[in-house]
């Protein structure tokens, strides 16, 4: 495929390559007659400027890199989707990097991909705050997803704390006083927000007791936690996310436990499938696609030299379905 280049168009149209360049970029200081001729020739030859060459000279690639921890996680998928659509609408391309939960590689991946793009949108829930702050100046412009506000870059987040609080209120309203929290195994920003909200809730409510049981972030960890949950004597469970909730739901159901009669289970994230379990899962719906869109909006502002809006947070909507019910005593 010997691609046609600007010089050929220039020769064919009988003008200099600068004129072709001007026409292709819509520079109005070109004689309309010449411009038309150039356009005709360009169309006939199927000419389009080489984006690599443009990138080199212009210093921008019309591409942003998105770094996420796990492409298998429905929430990150939804973030990517919202982001990708929004970026495409603005004529930008997306370079995707899945760090596969390798926290210690996030830094290098972000730095490396940044050099091929105009900025990076970073989703790194487990990266230590110090490392994150040290990393950001080197990859600016950057936008960070689901982390507490930062001095070095705008953030876009879901409010995990308020969602957990509402979920607890919901369970309390149903009479549950002893609740299990299935926490993610490794510390993450959103995990800490959850924990803080739980601590605040138990402080404010003398009758409430929350038992933390460490688990993972997927189906299997939810299922694996079933025995510990049942042994805890709790009447309700707050799962780290919907995947964990679904794994648990499946495992306890297999043990003959009735949900929600014997045990209430609430998930987190609001993935589409949560509506299709039996019983359908009560959960806090994180507006993941919206997070993605918003992250792009912030990046777009940064790239346009505008001031991005202050750190944005979205409140997840608690969706009450049938996996939670009155406590049985």
């Amino acid at each position: 495929m010997p691609r046609v280049k600007i010089t050929e168009v220039a020769r064919e149209a009988g003008v200099s390559l600068s004129t072709v360049s001007r026409v292709m970029n819509g520079n109005p200081t070109v004689d309309p007659v010449l411009a038309e001729r150039v356009r005709e020739v360009a169309a006939r030859l199927g000419y389009t400027a080489n984006p690599l060459a443009r990138s080199l000279v212009l210093g921008r690639t019309q591409t942003v890199s998105v770094v996420i921890p796990d492409l298998a996680n429905p929430t990150f998928q939804a973030i990517l989707r919202g982001l990708s659509h929004a970026a495409a609408k603005d004529g930008y391309h997306v370079l995707i990097s899945d760090t596969e939960e390798q926290v210690h590689e996030e830094r290098e991946i972000a730095t490396t991909t940044r050099r091929r793009t105009d900025g990076v949108i970073l989703c790194a829930p487990r990266m230590p705050q110090q490392e994150l702050s040290a990393l950001l100046p080197g990859i600016a412009p950057a936008v960070v997803i689901n982390r507490p506000p930062l001095a070095e870059a705008p953030t876009v987040s879901a409010d995990y704390g308020v969602a957990i609080t509402e979920l607890i209120d919901h369970l309390r309203g149903l009479g549950h006083t002893r609740i299990v929290f299935l926490s993610g195994a490794v510390a993450s920003a959103s995990g800490e927000a959850r924990l803080r909200a739980i601590t605040a809730a138990t402080r404010a409510d003398a009758e409430l007791e929350v038992v933390e049981i460490p688990a993972g972030v997927d189906f299997d960890s939810g299922a694996a936690a079933a025995d510990a949950v049942l042994a805890s004597g709790s009447t309700a469970v707050l799962a780290f996310n919907d995947l964990v909730a679904m794994g648990l739901l499946s495992a306890v159901t297999a043990r003959g436990i009735r949900v929600p009669d014997d045990l209430s289970i609430a998930g987190f994230d609001g993935i589409p499938f949560a509506a299709y379990t039996t019983p359908p899962l009560t959960t806090a719906a994180v507006p993941a696609a919206e997070l993605g869109r918003s992250a792009w909006a912030a990046m777009h502002a940064l790239l346009s030299g505008e001031e991005p809006r202050a750190d944005e947070t979205f409140a997840p909507a608690v969706v009450i379905r049938e996996s939670t019910g009155p406590a049985q005593h």
Copy 2:
């Protein structure tokens, strides 16, 4: 962030820029002492070659573009994930484009992104064969996913026909003779493969009757088809995919129908969630991540000047769960 460039390293190390270039690219024809000095300076200055400049001169970007129809579809997500991981392992980046099911834009998107990358991996199930064949030469090297073998590019596919056949055999073994097939609304390559397998099955089995009911490809279309399915008087349903099956399962259950006692339902694709419905879904598990890996392998071969393996096809594994059971007469 004023990035350090090769000339500064050269000056600082007291050598010419070509020497620096040689050292950075591991060219052995450099005095070890000089090489070491250059490396030391480069490290101290934090120098890394500008990938854009390299791309321009080398004519390769170390990036491939992946074009898929819908990032919200679990199967495409899994393909992307397998592909992305495999490419990363080989030091390649992935530029992702979601065409959002806009069939008429796939051509332009593929062509546009191709210019920023070294090749495109195309997943375009609905693009007319003619258009596809016309498109491919212009974007070579290309690899096509889930389409019949092509003259213009290697393909990597799941064998939808054999999977449907096995699913029908399974249902026939359970005594079902009147089966609904919930077909996707729009023609797609894999949809046609399903249809061909169904036609072959009914031809070979005089007692078997398959009723095609057009539906979409998501939850809602499955739910919306519930009444038509029940009115058909069939005892079993073959859904276009797991999403449709889940929507249908949910809707018929809400109508008091017992699955599989009153109605057997089989899905397709084997998305993770299919194991967590009630009852768990019988399905044909398409090895999507494997498809992605394999597509990358083919692309990698193409990029390395090797002959890619012939068109590869993977047989989905039929997973029998509890949503299918003996026919009741």
